[in-house]
Symmetry: D4
Subunit: 169 residues, 8 copies
């Protein structure tokens, strides 16, 4: 069952945004991935946003670069939570996209994650769904333990072999 | 019934963060407002975050300035969605807080809003709760119409009186 | 006869944007001034942009602050030239609005002027209209002479009275 | 018939600026491309700008990097619309050129596009010419449809093959 | 005997630039102060630069704000050393003027001082003149001692009265 | 017994730097406060740095603004730890001083604190002295408890009176 | 005997942070190197910080990138001096980590060094230990002479062979 | 006869700074190139600066990266004009060096050129020497013509072959 829309402005964004899909798959959250540009197909983008709630979507994730309006335009047409992923790749290294997303005016927020933080957008979507879906919340708790276990394992290895051999791999 | 924690690092943040409370009240969402610093009372802050889900909290909003670690520290201890409000007021005008919040590493996102965007943090919390709470979602739809109506009213007045008289008040 | 739309996202932008109207009046260019937000009344904004050409509009000027999507959203719906005025006033002093406007992606440009450069937006609109309207071009040439004359007059006074008395007024 | 001057400060700018020429060719707009530096051949640059209108030029596009004065210097000598393309390539990644172009003082605007946004400069020139040239405007409307069709086609393919196969090409 | 031109783009720059004149007076260096804009009276500005050497000028100081082209335009027309004073006052606090001045391309340097550093521009002009004028160099050595003496005097007072009374005045 | 030098480049820095003295007094750490500029009295500054260790100094704190070289110049002449306080007040809001201090090259570090973070410089000096001075370390532990107690007290009051009355004072 | 903890948020930081270990080895200072993330294993990180003083640690060095909270979180749990190494590698080139570390709020400082300045963090740790350990201070004085000797040797070679042959190696 | 010192903080700067030497050779200006660090051999650096005037030096050029204090430290010890070349190469792309050089405080200016603008530093030194040395000034005038001729030649070729063949080489 589709719970999340992952929308990006261009297919060149897919390489970074696939991290987001990996995260959603990890938490067994259904999604649809769409290419839809706020500037090139504005009416279609608006329509997607307007219809999302009725189609059972819980969260919309929007990834875009440069003057990244996609998330804001979507948020203008829905009251679902919209997560914004600013993408680097321009001469301004994604600061343009970050400011164009995070600085939304009063009344129409988007939830912005790090530049190129597509994976975290997926995790945040899971956290939002987890508010009312205990199965997802359980998976998030498991993931948190997994993250901790990875750090501990790496640290254990570092203690055992020392930093020089650790760096050699 | 308390659904949202609004946590700030210092009581000097309350003046900006009260906008957030106003937003939550607008949507009839129960909240508790807390002062708890990631750097001054780290154990209490961690405890608040760890206990939040069990206490029925759905969303945590954290407002802080400068090297604003509060949202990230809370996110380290919970899988609830955490909304970050970077606060200006330092010599760097809140860019320090913005970067310290939005650039969270892989696995532990926070949902960042605009610098001093406390009101929007409240709206975003409502949107997250609205995913599973149709009453809140209805109120959000009403608010969206209200926003639109205000713009239309102002534009109507502008057309009627002209910009010179509009500016005179 | 209306040739230019001057659109702003909020009536709080009018104080800066009135400079733009003064410029258009100087060149006897008909205009309409509208409040219409890309985020609060997106459909109305799109409609205004879509209908502009048919209504005889030549140029659209859009002023907005923060994550300023207004100009880009309008440009998505028209092939008329769109001039963007990034407005300061946020914690980021208008750099957010500048990046959100000037960094438009391939295919959908907006013509960006300086932060708070509302007057210049009006002059640029006149220059665009002047491409095919010799009366406006004549007025622009007159204005250019006027600008030069002002500088020369000020310099002449400075040479006559010296800098100390000049500063005293 | 030449309608647009495309001027750049150095032949090293041509690699980026050729995108601009491609855009003009797409809309069948006649152009001349010139190398002329505001700092190395200032008199020739001024002369080109002064003569442009009499030679039937409608729009001047200027591309330059670093302390990019070319567009401003040209705008000082003409009332034709001047489009500025800030070029990256310096240690400051084009932010220097962006600020040196977009922040023009009162009375002498230039229409600035994105850093390295040469293609969009060509589109914007076409939009300006399209104000009074319905053939160009028709081509712009066609281009807008083409842009939309490309996005829809890509999205259609993505829906059909899924993101993993899409990324494999 | 006039040795230095102090040129500014607008009479509103005079309030900051008068510091420069004070410095030149301190070293008994003759100067002329001129208002001449690179964008509003470009031909006059070029002429001033071209004629400067023949009129016995040794150094040209140019102060301007925003997209500050004045120093670069002057440097295009002379081989005299040109000192640039970036002025704040815009929304971007003078970073725009700094980048527009200091980032001059290969072959045409300007000597840039701090944002609003008008006094230092005068000292730098004196240092340049002092290369071949021993009387000015002597005065510079005297000024250096004066600067040192001031610091020592303040420190002496601080040691005597303590910081609390020092702060009270 | 003097343990810390607090050096600033100008007496205008004293207003901010007095916070540092307050911190040192809080931990009963003897200090001398000096005005000594890296650019105006370079030899005296070097001498102070060279002699500091022999005079029993443990830590040197240097506060300066703009192109803030004071801390680096001191660090060039001593192996004592040097704490740098970047000061705002220039057009660049202290980012100039921050970069000029924190980005020290390999081999000659300075320990940089926040822009205008004079109080923290004092606390950091105490922490450094506390490495080998258990009395100071005890005071630091007491201060940490005090900080925590203040936050808890404020939070307690907030819970009791609610945010509206809290804001009224 | 372990005197210094070198903690990093991820094993991907080890490649830069090993410079820090090289510095500590140079001054014969015992250290332990640990991987421990403020966001993934917050309780372990807090515990390490809380126990450090009792285990005889004198200084803690923390290296992290992006929204780098590691140093601040550690400083919240100890009164030992904490040295912060902001790491580049993100889209924002380490400015995010720099601001997230250096801008610590009143009462809880960290001593920040340059972006990727891991070696200097080790030298600074030695300087702090050298306050009370004359053997380390002697080694620091020796290192300072070594640095000077290297520069002099390079300059001597440059004078002997000229810059062209020097560049050839 | 040596007229110019070209000083750099490290031999790794020589690769960029050799452009400066090429410029000085072009104008037949005698120079010495030195490696001398403000932080590693501060006394030698001060001595070089203090002795420069007596040894007949007219201008000192200083190139350095990161927290680039070299130019300011030299300027503290001489009244000769000091030209600063901020070098990129750090994580902050030379903005750190730019701010650390250009923002010199009142009384002690340095003449800053573009990031990595070593060639222009040489030209500026020639311009300063040319104030009193007509042979150098003649060479500068010749160089200005050469620059112009190069641009014209490139433009001529572009007109002849068209941009496509020009780009092919």
């Amino acid at each position: 069952m589709t719970k999340v829309y992952v929308i990006m402005g261009s297919d060149s964004d897919l390489k970074v945004m696939q991290d987001c899909l990996a995260a959603l798959e990890k938490f067994d959250i259904g999604y649809e991935v769409l290419i839809s540009s706020a500037h090139r197909v504005p009416d279609e983008t608006a329509q997607i946003a307007r219809d999302a709630a009725a189609r059972g979507i819980n969260v919309i994730i929007a990834g875009a670069g440069m003057a990244a309006h996609l998330a804001g335009v979507i948020a203008a047409h829905t009251v679902l939570p919209v997560i914004a992923v600013p993408l680097s790749g321009s001469a301004l290294s994604g600061i343009d996209a970050l400011y164009a997303m995070v600085q939304m005016p009063r009344g129409v927020p988007v939830a912005t994650v790090a530049v190129d933080g597509a994976f975290n957008a997926g995790v945040l979507a899971a956290q939002i769904i987890g508010v009312s879906d205990s199965a997802v919340r359980e998976k998030l708790l498991g993931y948190k333990e997994e993250l901790a276990a990875q750090v501990k394992l790496k640290n254990k290895k570092l203690q055992e072999v020392g930093y020089r051999r650790y760096l050699e791999g």
